[in-house]
């Protein structure tokens, strides 16, 4: 196993091969919409596109996102080799048109051309006790990133207090404001508590979960279920054309907060919800 080649293959899979849980959710959404409606046509197009991308090994969406990588590694391993492998793979994947050059210097506005830059790819390291390595990759689209939002409870305008009812209100508000802009139907990641930074991080890390997988915390599991039902009553539908499916899933996570603060962060990912992982054990690599 060559680490950098494995990393490249992980990127290729993430950008061209939509995971089964997401594809299944899109297919169910297609079945729910009425014949001849724009919503049904949109889902039909999305399904066709997913199949085509997989078959031709081309990007599902031309916005191949920001490259975000979480590495869990055993004691004694070095971060450096993963960073080097990630950078090599990102540049190579750009050359092979698996990734669009998406790293822009915000001051000079120059695109680096190869997806490499300061914090690009973004890598997050975590040491664990297992004797295997887990690399999780997320390709996070920019359009859907733009509709994410952070709220500070209480929120007077929304009459949202410092409790789960308040959390529900701000999530509904965020999804209502997003309309179709983030390529609905979306998947919603909610981070409750923490500071401004960790709250957003928590909301985004939820996207590594699988659709349909409930929170292990019963209160949060109930919140996820209620929000899933409520958000789909909004009628925004795919692309904001109107329809029965506005979101494909809701995940919530919590962390302790400072007594004075109560942040709720909402990350939104479009239906082109691309994340994959690989487990490296000795010379064996398995992808999921």
């Amino acid at each position: 196993m060559e680490l950098k080649k494995a990393m490249l293959e992980l990127m290729r899979r993430a950008t061209t091969d939509l995971s089964k849980d997401v594809e299944d959710a899109v297919k169910q959404a297609y079945d729910r919409e009425g014949e001849g409606t724009p919503a049904k046509n949109v889902f039909g197009t999305i399904i066709e596109n997913i199949g085509l991308a997989r078959e031709a090994s081309t990007p599902i969406c031309q916005d191949t996102g920001s490259v975000i990588i979480y590495v869990d590694f055993p004691v004694g391993d070095s971060e450096k080799k993963y960073r080097e492998a990630a950078e090599w793979a990102a540049a190579e994947a750009t050359k092979l048109q698996y990734l669009r050059p998406n790293a822009v210097d915000p001051v000079t506005c120059k695109n680096s051309g190869n997806n490499i830059g300061t914090n690009a790819p973004y890598l997050h390291f975590h040491q664990w006790d297992k004797d295997e390595v887990r690399v999780r990759l997320m390709l996070k689209g920019g359009g859907s990133e733009n509709v994410g939002a952070q709220y500070k409870l209480p929120d007077t305008g929304l009459k949202a207090g410092r409790d789960l009812k308040g959390v529900k209100k701000v999530v509904i508000d965020a999804v209502q404001k997003a309309q179709g802009q983030g390529c609905a139907p979306g998947v919603i990641g909610i981070g409750i508590g923490g500071d401004r930074v960790t709250s957003f991080a928590l909301s985004k890390e939820q996207f590594f979960r699988k659709l349909g997988e409930q929170s292990t915390d019963p209160d949060l599991a109930a919140l996820e279920k209620e929000l899933y039902e409520d958000l789909n009553k909004l009628g925004i539908g795919p692309m904001g054309f109107g329809g029965k499916t506005t979101c494909l899933g809701v995940y919530a996570g919590k962390q302790h907060r400072h007594p004075a603060t109560f942040y709720v962060s909402i990350s939104y990912t479009c239906w082109a919800y691309r994340r994959k992982q690989m487990i490296i054990k000795g010379s064996e690599v398995t992808y999921d």
């Binding site: 724009p38 046509n41 949109v42 197009t45 999305i46 066709e48 596109n49 085509l52 991308a53 031709a56 081309t58 990007p59 599902i60 969406c61 031309q62 916005d63 191949t64 048109q97 990734l99 669009r100 050059p101 998406n102 822009v104 506005c109 120059k110 695109n111 051309g113 689209g141 359009g143 733009n146 929304l158 009459k159 949202a160 529900k168 209100k169 509904i172 508000d173 209502q176 309309q179 179709g180 802009q181 983030g182 390529c183 409520d230 009553k233 909004l234 009628g235 925004i236 539908g237 692309m239 904001g240 054309f241 109107g242 479009c270 239906w271 082109a272």
Partner: protein, 193 residues
């Protein structure tokens, strides 16, 4: 399904209504943030002939260059249009643009511009990059590639049977406005407001 071919006359553009499904064939020009900013700040002439009675596509494609130096689109879906809201109406007026393809819809300033100029907003399926990439038959030319980078450059290309829905028309109609108002009512109920 309405077949639409470029160049599009003002009369044709004005005949389209919200909800019409169209298949577009002909020349379109990709333009995003840097391109719109340039078109307003410098009003360049190089793009004029391609935009007259033409189509702007909000898209930042993935592009391949073959050994002979020919470009082709690998993936080319829509990008979010609202970022061009400050510019769009003026761009349509300056260059006599008849259709803008994007996703997510646009605001009141653009809606007014469409009415004035006689143009429509066409919504494509966001994220359907591979599929739309296949409908781009040929890349004619590109402007500002060096300066703006691949996603932001002006790519002038040929599409065939590109499926879109009219979501904003030249009569003030906007599906986005209607859906947002309806969903706001539901949201208020759910939030107890």
């Amino acid at each position: 399904m309405i077949k639409l071919t470029t160049p599009i006359s003002e009369e044709t553009a004005r005949s389209l209504k919200v909800g019409d499904e169209v298949l577009l064939t002909g020349t379109i020009v990709t333009a995003r943030d840097a391109a719109h900013k340039l078109m307003i700040e410098e009003r360049p002439d190089f793009i004029r002939e391609h935009l007259k009675d033409g189509v702007i596509y909000h898209c930042g494609p993935v592009v391949k260059k073959d050994e002979a130096g020919e470009y082709s689109f690998v993936a080319a879906g829509t990008t979010t249009s609202s970022r061009e809201e400050p510019y769009q109406a003026a761009v349509c007026e300056e260059y006599s643009v008849r259709a803008v393809i994007g996703k997510g819809g646009m605001g009141p300033k653009t809606a007014e511009g469409l009415q004035k100029v006689g143009a429509v907003y066409l919504h494509a399926v966001g994220g359907a990059g591979s599929l739309i990439g296949k409908m781009v038959k040929k890349v004619h030319t590109v402007y500002k590639l060096e300066e703006f980078g691949t996603p932001e450059a002006f790519w002038v290309c040929e599409v065939e049977d590109f499926p879109c829905v009219v979501t904003m028309d030249s009569h003030g109609g906007s599906l986005h406005k209607d859906i947002a108002a309806a969903s706001q009512k539901v949201a208020n109920d759910l939030m107890g407001l």
